[in-house]
Symmetry: C2
C-alpha cells in the first residue's frame, strides 16, 4: 500500500461561526489533510508542534494510521494557534490572531524512510518549506500542492515556483483569481495550467470543484483544455468551513495513493472523493465530523453525487 | 408539434458592461425566451410593444417561427425600455432607467387558438399578469414560471401564488434567497418545492444550475429531495449577461415541447439545453449570438457539458 507524505501546519484553532464557537481545537492544514487521507491510505506526517500540544491529539492521529515520526515536538515551545471567524456566507475566513509559536522557525526534516514517498501532499504552508520538502523526496509519482492568499500576497514568486514543480495544484476560486489576476475562473484555470502542472483543481465551496487538464476538446473557447466539473454534496447547513480545502486535498491524494491509478478518469473520481470528504468536514467544528466519517457514509455521498450529475 | 406559449416583456434595452455598450437593442424576457424556445418548437408570443418598435425585429421574430398574433402593437405608444449596467463580476444588473411605456397598462389577451397551448412559459412580468394568463389557458401539460427581485419585493404574495400554481418554477440564486429568506440555497430549494411545483430550478450563472424535485433519496440532509446539478458551459469571457435566464427557460420549455416527455430524466436534459443556450446568449450583446446559434453548436456544447460531468 502506498503511503501519503503530508507536510503542513498542525495547529490549535479558535473559531467562531454563525452557528457557534470552539477554542483551541485540533486544526491545521496537515492535520485535516492527514485525517482525510488516512481514510484511504497510511499517512506520514511532517510538521511541528510545541510541548503544549495535547497528547490526546497525538494518540488520535496515531490510531488513524498517521505516522508521526516526522512531527517535531519542540520542548518548551508553543503550538501554532489561529483565531478567526467567518462572514455570513461562510466563504471567507477573517483572521483575528495568529501565534506562530514553533512554526516560526520550522524546517521540515524528512525521516529517511519518508524520502521514498510516492504520493506527496504539500499542504498549505510557506512555499519555501514546500520547496525544501520537495528537495528531500526522491522520485515521487505524484506531488500535490495547496496554498493560501497570505503566501500569494507575500511570496508570489515562490508560490509560482511550487506550481511549476508539482503534478497537481489545488486552490480555491479566490486564490486562483489572486494568483492569476484573472477575474474569470476558466481563464484563471488555463493560465495556471500553463505553469506546467498536469492538472489544476479549483474548489468553489458549495458550487463544487473544477479540474483543468490539457486535453483534446477543440472548443473555440476552451481550446486544448479538458474541464471536469464536480458538484458538491448538498448541505442545508454549514457549521464550520475550517479545513474543508485541506480535507478535500487529503482525500484526493489518499484515494490516488490507494488506487495507484493516475489516469484522468481516476483523477475525476478522486476529485469527487475529495469533495465528499470536505462536505463532511464542514458539518461540525474542528475535526469532529471528519473523524467520525465511515466508509459507508463516504460511499453513500459518492453515489449521491454521481446521481446528481447524471443526465 | 407542440407549440410553446410565452407571455412576458418585449423591450428595447440599453446596456453597458465592462466589454462595451449597446443602445435600444432588442430585449425583453419574452423576446429572449421566444428566440431560445424557437430553436426547438414553434412559439406563440403574448406581449405588447409601441408603434416605435422596429419592424425589423417583428420580421426577425416571424422568420424564427414566433407567431405574433398575441403581440399587441399600441398605436402612438412607446415600447418598454430598460437601461442598465452590470457590476464587475457580471452577476448583478443595476437598473438606471425604466420606461414602462405601453407595458404600464398591458393586459395579456390570448387569441382563441393560443388557449389550447400545452406548454406555457410565464416569463418575467408582473405576477398578476402571469395569473391572468393562466386563467386564459385551458389545460396545459406544463406551466413554467420565472420572476425577478422587483416582483418578490413589491408583490411577494402574488409571486408565491404563481409558484403554487405552476408545474415548474425557474429563478436565480439571489431570487431564491430573497423569496425564502434562506441563505442556504439547498434549504431555499426545499422550501420552494414545498409550495407545490413538481420541480424548482435555481440558476447560478457560471456555477450552473440545480433542479430540485421530490424524490427517493433518503439522505439525512436532503431527505425526500432529488437534486440535479448541471454545470454551465465554460466561458472565458462574458460580454452581456442580459437575457441569460430568459434564454435558459425558453430553451428548457422548448426542448420539453419538442420531445413531449416530462420524465425527470428528460427534465434533466432540458436543464442542460437551457444552460447551453444561455451560455451562448451571454457571448454577445442583445440577441446577436443567440440568434446566430445553430443546431450543431447546441449539440457540440451539450456534448461538452456531458463530458465535463462524467466520472
Amino acid at each position: 500500500m502506498n503511503e501519503v507524505l503530508i507536510v503542513g501546519s498542525v495547529a490549535l484553532d479558535s473559531v467562531e461561526t454563525p452557528v457557534g464557537r470552539i477554542d483551541n481545537a485540533l486544526g491545521g492544514a496537515a492535520t485535516y489533510g492527514s485525517i482525510a487521507a488516512s481514510l484511504f491510505a497510511p499517512v506520514h506526517l511532517v510538521g511541528v508542534v510545541g510541548e503544549d500540544f495535547p497528547q490526546e491529539h497525538l494518540d488520535f492521529l496515531k490510531k488513524r494510521n498517521v505516522d508521526l515520526a516526522g512531527l517535531q515536538i519542540i520542548k518548551g515551545g508553543n503550538t501554532f494557534r489561529w483565531k478567526g471567524d467567518y462572514n455570513a456566507d461562510l466563504n471567507q475566513a477573517v483572521t483575528h490572531e495568529t501565534q506562530l509559536g514553533v512554526f516560526e522557525h520550522f524546517e521540515p526534516k524528512l525521516p529517511e524512510n519518508y524520502r521514498d514517498a510516492q504520493y506527496v501532499f504539500l499542504a498549505n504552508i510557506n512555499p519555501e518549506l514546500q520547496l525544501s520538502t520537495l528537495e528531500q523526496v526522491k522520485q515521487p509519482k505524484l506531488v500535490l500542492c495547496d496554498t493560501m492568499n497570505l503566501w500569494i500576497n507575500i511570496a508570489r514568486e515562490h508560490v509560482l515556483e511550487v506550481f511549476r514543480r508539482v503534478d497537481i495544484a489545488v486552490l480555491n476560486d479566490g486564490e486562483a483569481r489572486l494568483l492569476t489576476d484573472q477575474g474569470n475562473i476558466i481563464a484563471a484555470g488555463r493560465q495556471l495550467l500553463d505553469l506546467g502542472p498536469r492538472a489544476i483543481i479549483i474548489k468553489k465551496g458549495e458550487h463544487g470543484a473544477l479540474m483543468f487538464s490539457k486535453g483534446e476538446h477543440p472548443a473555440s473557447l476552451s481550446e486544448g483544455i479538458d474541464i471536469f466539473s464536480a458538484p458538491s454534496y448538498p448541505l442545508e447547513q454549514v457549521v464550520d468551513p475550517t479545513g474543508a480545502g485541506d480535507s478535500f486535498a487529503g482525500a484526493f491524494i489518499g484515494y490516488l495513493a490507494k488506487t495507484d491509478d493516475l489516469s484522468m478518469q481516476n483523477l475525476r473520481r478522486a476529485v469527487v472523493y475529495g469533495s465528499v470528504v470536505a462536505s463532511t468536514t464542514v458539518q461540525d467544528f474542528s475535526t469532529a465530523s471528519l473523524a467520525a466519517l465511515t466508509p459507508d457514509s463516504i460511499a453513500y455521498r459518492y453515489g449521491y453525487v454521481r446521481e446528481m450529475s447524471k443526465f
